[in-house]
Symmetry: C2
Subunit: 367 residues, 2 copies
């Protein structure tokens, strides 16, 4: 079976770029060549992805001045000292402002490569080739780049859009099951925050996704990217609506920071963060218990964790961590809540007692 | 004698900002308060400037959540690990996206504070309070921020405009003579690249500047900032004309990199870099020897070095270092040359033999 190529576009004036989605795109050398204007290319990947895909990419870039950096794999390496190794390579191999960086890997590789591209010589081009579901549906689109700080997730970064996103859905064939499920958390997120129709589709088709059915996957990835593109186009630098993409993330980031990125994958933390955000949306009277139950049921079908990891602090400790969130304005925490399935909003106006109740309840969960 | 306040503006749409110039502005708390919108402020300064001006600034920001970081002084500390200490402080004191960083010091403090502001939580506001002549006439205006890499000057950075530039010319009273002269190199640069009238004024009034005459100083600083603002407005991200602001800098950066930022101040390296650029402009037949001699005479009157520092590599070694310049495009070095006093242009079309002759001649200079 051959699937048609899905062509999307993120429209941001001069910073617009295409998203191309299909199985087998990594064999399409014309596509990759078209995305790279200059003569110099640095591929950034990690030790897990490199043995599988690096040769395939380098083979398609003959004639360019080509280098690569292989980073260690994992969220805990998403830090400034790792980005430094990208700068070192760029300078050792004398890359100039016309170079293109290629991010070949998951969200961690994409975020760090994007940040290196944003800051090398005050900004060079980069191409996203995401190889995890999470990166394909979320982090490769929208230009958020950056690294973690020991005191907080994604605290150091820049907005820097890629010049192209190339999504070969066939790369998901080699993705470990746990990573795949983590990516589904972000897919489900789009249904919850802005796309009720997609939520309903997911309820019906989640089993096909879990089996990695190629047609269902391409549809879900494309629909996720479309939703993301629409929101990013409306608010590129997150002065308003873009914040809803952070549904579940405020809680998720607190979990990741508390466990030093070692307990869970990012998508797992987002999944459980959504459970917490749903619980609070209910307690605050915004969301019906029926909708909350439907959402939680879908998260469960994606096999995401429904109870917290070991090593979390107390409710008060979690509240302290939430206070580090980038959405805090003049000391006031802002949360993304749901009014109904497919309708999220940002609010700083919530009862602190309800937040404590949500944390108490969710931290005590055992299944 | 009271001097009038000079009010300038850098017009960049949403990113526009005022430049205010006068002696005694650090006493003007209304001005500083007006520039800071949020409730949180982090002052970044260095160990030389802090004892003189830090108290004065903090006294004017009562009622804000106020912190400060004191960095070591010197270009060799302009590196990522120093910026890390700014991030650490911002997170320890829980600064959020509505915070304002204040850069109180010279170009090194301004560049690093600006880079921290560009990248903390993907971008926060910052105010420039430059206390050296070089920072007042050049680096505090225009939004170039960044740090050095062992393999090259300013190789890691971002474009990020300040929200205000406050220039208290009285801070120059405490500036060491060598630093003051280094700043004059950038003042002279504006005359050379785009303002023949100002060049002539400098020839007549350089002795007043060397005596730090308040009226002459304010005029020279304002005229420099006006020239810089005009060029930045025309080409914010240096895709064209802005490159002429780099006159003398390609050579200067090579000197700084070769000597690991320890031999000379940045302005001194730019001064001698301009000597080299003038020499090459002559050899290539663009500039008359008379104009070259006038320019060199002015640089000499500013007491800037006319012979190279110890520790430079050979001509070939210098050419290798020039190849690291950010203006290199697809392997081709581009240089800023003068056609006449007040008329600079960018070219990649020059005789390599002439460049070698210039390097041979200038590296051999003894006075």
């Amino acid at each position: 079976m051959t699937l048609e190529i899905t062509d999307l576009r993120v429209s941001l004036g001069k910073r617009s770029y295409p998203i191309t989605i299909a199985p087998g795109l990594l064999e399409d050398s014309a596509l990759l060549q078209r995305s790279i204007v200059g003569e110099q290319v640095l591929i950034v990947t990690n030790e897990t992805v490199a043995p599988i895909y690096l040769d395939r990419i380098t083979a398609q870039l003959e004639g360019k001045q080509l280098g690569y950096v292989i980073l260690p794999d994992g969220e805990k390496f998403k830090r400034l000292s790792t980005v430094q190794t990208i700068y070192d390579k760029l300078l050792q191999e004398r890359h100039n402002r016309t170079t293109t960086l290629v991010a070949l890997g998951g969200g961690v590789v994409g975020d760090m490569t994007g940040f290196a591209a944003a800051t090398y010589q005050r900004g060079v081009s980069f191409v996203q080739i995401p190889t995890t579901l999470l990166a394909q549906v979320d982090s490769s689109v929208g230009g958020k780049t950056g690294v973690n700080h020991p005191l907080g997730k994604n605290m150091i970064g820049a907005f820097h859009q890629p010049v192209a996103v190339i999504i070969d859905t066939k790369t998901l064939d080699t993705l470990p099951q746990r990573e795949f499920q983590a990516g589904l958390a972000e897919v489900i997120k789009y249904g919850l925050i802005c796309d009720a129709e997609f939520f309903a589709w997911l309820e019906t088709n989640i089993h096909l996704l879990m089996e990695r059915d190629a047609t269902a996957l391409q549809y879900a990835i494309a629909r996720s990217c479309e939703n993301k593109a629409k929101i990013v186009e409306a608010d590129e630098r997150e002065s308003g609506v873009r914040a809803i993409l952070n549904f579940g993330h405020t809680f998720g980031h607190a979990i990741e920071t508390a466990t030093q990125y070692e307990a869970w994958l990012h998508g797992e933390a987002v999944g459980f963060g959504m459970i917490m955000a749903l619980d609070l949306s209910c307690r605050l009277g915004y969301l019906s218990t029926q909708d909350c139950a439907r959402a939680e049921a879908l998260i469960k079908l994606a096999n995401l964790p429904l109870s917290p990891p070991a090593g979390l602090p107390s409710t008060q400790g979690m509240i302290d961590l939430l206070g580090l969130d980038k959405k805090v304005m003049n000391g006031q925490l802002r949360l993304i809540m749901l009014r109904s399935l497919g309708d999220a909003f940002v609010t700083a106006d919530f009862d602190m007692n309800c937040l404590e109740q949500t944390l108490n309840a969710c931290l005590a969960r055992t299944t």
